[in-house]
């Protein structure tokens, strides 16, 4: 932790960055995002096991974007994966954001997409055991049963959009859900509207999801919404051999037209 603070101070003093986006102590044992722009604020930074939020989500916020060059504390691989995917989607220029990765006996400073990729090769992202178990269970279910499972889960949804707001890939300035001319997806949280919302969200993230699981953690009623996108991501990986957050240079699997696509799935 000390080396992280020291590194942050050095970078700020040298003027290489304008701010560090990291974690600070929140109420009770929680950790909350923290923007440090001075040595004094850097001292509040925390780096431990409780720092689970994917900070990449905040990087896309207007207020943070305008601070200038940033360093972000990437204590989890998903933050780096988010940065890679955001670079692939032209939201972050390669090299515009530094990543500070707390590591054994110090802190690692990564500056480019290539460095992120190399680091990620060393620390692969793993799903939690609980998530993996539920995902396997879902995959084993017959279609009708799976549909019923989600219908039941969605019935609790109150459309607070916390899952959307916590997602690093949901950076659109105007979300389709807020589009009311025309209003394709109904606003109220009734059965049809909820289902439409979650299906649209899953489709919009298929092939782009970095699997940080932030959406599931954000849900106030405990719907495992992250498994919808995990499921979609697994399907894309199985079909196309690539998924979200793996590289800053690969074209998106679902949206890329290739004249040599064999289209064998059309029969």
């Amino acid at each position: 932790m000390e080396s992280l603070k020291q590194k942050a101070k050095e970078l700020l003093e040298a003027g290489e960055i304008k701010a560090v986006l990291g974690y600070a102590r929140g109420t009770s044992d929680t950790r909350r995002p923290h923007v440090a722009m001075s040595a004094l604020e850097v001292d509040k930074l925390v780096a431990d096991q409780a720092c689970t939020t994917n900070l990449a989500n905040l990087l896309m916020k207007h207020e943070i974007k305008h601070l200038g060059k940033l360093a972000v504390v990437a204590s989890r691989p998903s933050t780096l994966r988010s940065l890679l995917q955001l670079t692939a989607e032209h939201q972050v220029a390669d090299g515009a954001i530094l990543a500070l990765v707390p590591a054994e006996g110090g802190v690692k400073q990564l500056g480019t997409a290539q460095a992120f990729e190399e680091h990620l090769a060393l620390v692969p992202q793993k799903k939690t055991e609980k998530d993996q178990a539920l995902l396997d269970r879902l995959k084993a279910m017959p279609r009708a049963e799976r549909f019923a499972f989600w219908q039941k889960e969605f019935s609790r949804c109150m459309k607070c959009y916390a899952c959307r707001n916590s997602c690093p890939m949901c950076y659109c300035e105007r979300c389709t859900m807020d589009c009311n001319r025309p209003q394709w997806v109904p606003v109220p949280s009734h059965a049809v509207g909820n289902q439409e919302y979650h299906l649209v969200r899953a489709m919009h993230l298929a092939g782009r999801c970095v699997e940080c699981g932030e959406c599931g953690r954000a849900c106030p009623v405990g719907i495992p919404v992250h498994l919808l996108t995990f499921f979609a991501e697994d399907s894309v990986r199985a079909q196309f051999g690539q998924g979200g957050g793996a590289s800053a240079t690969i074209d998106n699997a679902l949206s890329t037209f290739r004249p040599d696509d064999k289209e064998t799935f059309i029969r």
Partner: protein, 663 residues
């Protein structure tokens, strides 16, 4: 409130047979916004159109729905009528009561109700329609012809004679193609080169034709009338301007043991070569893969002997980009590799050759000066077996289609052989004789009756060598499958016609479709045989399917006529049905977030990046922009855009929503 007119057509009995048209008119009259609704027997007829035009004026209509057939059939007709009466043509829509309703349903109440619903949908669409103006694009009056065989030469000459510029691109060092390799042509037995070479020279000397030999199309961007084509001019390592074509380098080149492609490997050529004596342009090319200088840096004889100093070892490939208005593909065919037939012993026995090699043996310009000699020992073959359908119509090992030309050229081969070797005997193994064409069947009969070729209906199972003879074992299916064994001196395989190597890559470069055999696909097999599905790109000759010379020339001229028709106008009108990325007031500027996933989704490269800048020139936002000249209105980007920042003019999100919600 809109003032929409609904015009329901009976289409004779086509619609009125199952749909109660007066009832549809009555029901649709009650839709809010509809002020006039009538039915008529034939809306597309002259009185029908007059009825629409007069109603527009009388009722001051600001939108029209014609409930009739498919918009593919008559949309232009009715839009024109609406425009003549002063309504923007894109405020006229068609409800498809024929294909979508009357033809597919029984006559009953529900069918009429569905017809009324289809009209209701289109009324909603018209309410949300915006007036559109067609996009005008200029036409570059230069054509690109890819391939310098007889198809390409004919096309180029026809376009050039119509007064337009043509660039003729050929990948090998000379134009002429397969036809220049042939000895005589069926069904007249006139000398192939004698009729071809004047055309080659004409093409080379035509003031409107720019010849680019030893060149290949690298990249094609743009659209009809406005293609941007990049051609790779491969380095010949010879300065074409300085070279006089004296041929001294060719005679002095010490490396003379390279199999000659023009003679199908039956002779040799040097490393610096002119493919054949009548080549156009008649200037040499260095084959760098076989040249001693390029292999180990020594030699340089050609450079030393050249009287004009035209040899350029340091010459590099050149990339030339051109503005082109129309493209004609005339890339021709290749013959199937004979190594697919080990049972025929090709490659193992020197005297088993393919049809093109026989052409070279029979040609006066060939390696034997037209004397039939077998490749192994140069002896005159006294018995020759011709095997038709070597690979054609063979689902198991070859291609399932008929190569079309083999029956005719095999008959020709037997005649050429008999005319040169009077005591010789030709045998032909065949499956069926396909000789449809002017004077074609008479030609085959002549081969059998006058030149005494023995035709055996059956397949050959095996060929092997014994005592210097090739033993051909087969069956005669007209004699109850009785085994046949012929002791032959030479065997000629009429191998299948296939698409050129890399034709699929080329098709992808040009964004044209191709079939599973790699032949380029025409837009319609009967009614648009020389056009491709990509506007402005046409087809000529055997790159589309196996063809003989008369057909190829006819198609070349047809493609030329299509290009000339295209070039007869100065401007092209394009449908304004294109995608548009929205623009909004600051600070949003556009709901586009600039993820540019639409850019990879667009099959036409129509999406560009646009920087929105403030007054001081600082970039505020980078968003997508659609080039209306390139956009084909397919809507792929619209479907993919997560923020719905893209809309298709004439098919907007709001329109589709309104159409659905009215049901």
């Amino acid at each position: 409130m809109s003032r929409i007119g609904v015009f329901t057509c009976h289409c004779g009995e086509n619609i009125a047979g199952t749909v109660d048209c007066p009832k549809v008119a009555e029901l649709t009259r009650q839709i809010p916004g509809v002020v006039h609704s009538v039915d008529y027997k034939y809306m597309c007829s002259d009185p029908g159109q007059t009825l629409i035009k007069e109603a527009i004026k009388e009722h001051k209509l600001d939108g029209v729905v014609v409930a009739a057939c498919s918009p593919r059939m008559h949309e232009p007709t009715f839009r024109k009528a609406a425009a003549e009466a002063g309504v923007n043509p894109y405020l006229c829509e068609m409800a498809n009561l024929r294909e979508h309703c009357s033809w597919v349903h029984e006559k009953n109440e529900a069918t009429t109700q569905k017809a009324a619903d289809l009209v209701r949908i289109m009324v909603e669409k018209v309410k949300h329609d915006t007036p559109l103006t067609p996009i005008k694009v200029p036409v570059t009056k230069t054509a690109l012809v890819v391939g310098g065989g007889i198809a390409g030469i004919q096309t180029a000459l026809d376009i050039a004679n119509a007064g337009h510029q043509v660039v003729l691109v050929e990948k090998s060092p000379s134009i002429g193609g397969h036809m220049s390799q042939l000895s005589e042509t069926f069904p007249t037995l006139d000398c192939s080169q004698c009729i071809l070479t004047p055309r080659m020279v004409e093409a080379a000397q035509h003031p409107n034709i720019k010849l680019m030999t030893y060149s290949e199309v690298e990249k094609v961007d743009g659209f009809i009338g406005n293609f941007k084509v990049t051609v790779r001019k491969k380095a010949k390592k010879v300065d074409e301007k300085a070279c006089t074509g004296c041929g001294l380098c060719v005679t002095k080149c010490p490396n003379k043991k390279i199999p000659d492609e023009f003679n199908e490997g039956l002779a040799f050529r040097p490393a610096i070569y002119v493919p054949f004596p009548q080549a156009v342009p008649n200037k040499p090319t260095i084959d760098t893969a076989n040249c001693t200088y390029f292999k180990n840096g020594k030699c340089g004889v050609c450079s030393k002997v050249c009287p004009t100093g035209a040899i350029r070892y340091d010459q590099e490939d050149e990339l030339i980009t051109m503005d082109i208005g129309a493209i004609v593909m005339a890339t021709g065919f290749k013959l199937m590799q004979t190594d697919k037939f080990p049972e025929y012993g090709y490659g193992k026995y020197k005297d088993v050759i393919d049809g093109m090699q026989f052409e070279r043996l029979a040609s006066a310009s060939g390696p034997t000066a037209g004397v039939i000699k077998r490749p192994s020992d140069g002896k005159e073959p006294e018995t020759v077996v011709f095997i038709a359908c070597s690979g054609s119509r063979d689902r198991a090992k070859g291609v399932p289609y008929c190569s079309k030309i083999c029956c005719m050229y095999t008959a020709k081969h037997t005649m050429l052989y008999k005319h040169k070797v009077h005591h010789g005997q030709a045998y032909v193994f065949y499956m069926d004789i396909r000789s449809a064409g002017k004077d074609y069947d008479e030609f085959v009969r002549r081969a059998i009756e006058e030149d005494e070729a023995k035709y055996i209906r059956g397949r050959v199972s095996r060929i092997y060598e014994e005592d210097g003879k090739l033993i051909v074992k087969g069956a005669d299916t007209l004699m109850n499958g009785e085994p046949v064994e012929i002791k032959a001196d030479m065997v000629v395989l009429a191998t299948a016609v296939q698409s050129q190597d890399r034709s699929e890559d080329l098709a992808q470069t040009l964004h044209i479709s191709y079939d599973k055999y790699g032949f380029f696909a025409e837009a319609h097999p009967k009614l648009r045989p020389v056009e491709t599905n990509t506007a402005g790109i046409f087809l000529a000759g055997a790159c589309q399917a196996p063809r003989d010379i008369p057909e190829t020339v006819a198609q070349g001229s047809a493609a030329g006529a299509k290009v000339a028709a295209l070039f007869s106008q100065d401007e092209l009108t394009r449908e304004p049905i294109v995608a548009v990325v929205n623009r909004q007031a600051p600070p949003l500027f556009s709901t586009c977030t600039g993820c540019f996933l639409c850019q990879t989704a667009c099959p036409y490269q129509a999406i560009e990046q646009e920087e929105i800048k403030d007054r001081s020139g600082r970039v505020i936002k980078t968003v997508a922009k659609v080039n209306p000249g390139l956009c084909q209105g397919c809507g792929t980007c619209v479907a993919f855009c997560r923020t719905k920042a893209i809309d298709l003019a004439g098919f907007s999100n709001e329109q589709l929503f309104a159409e659905l919600m009215t049901l």
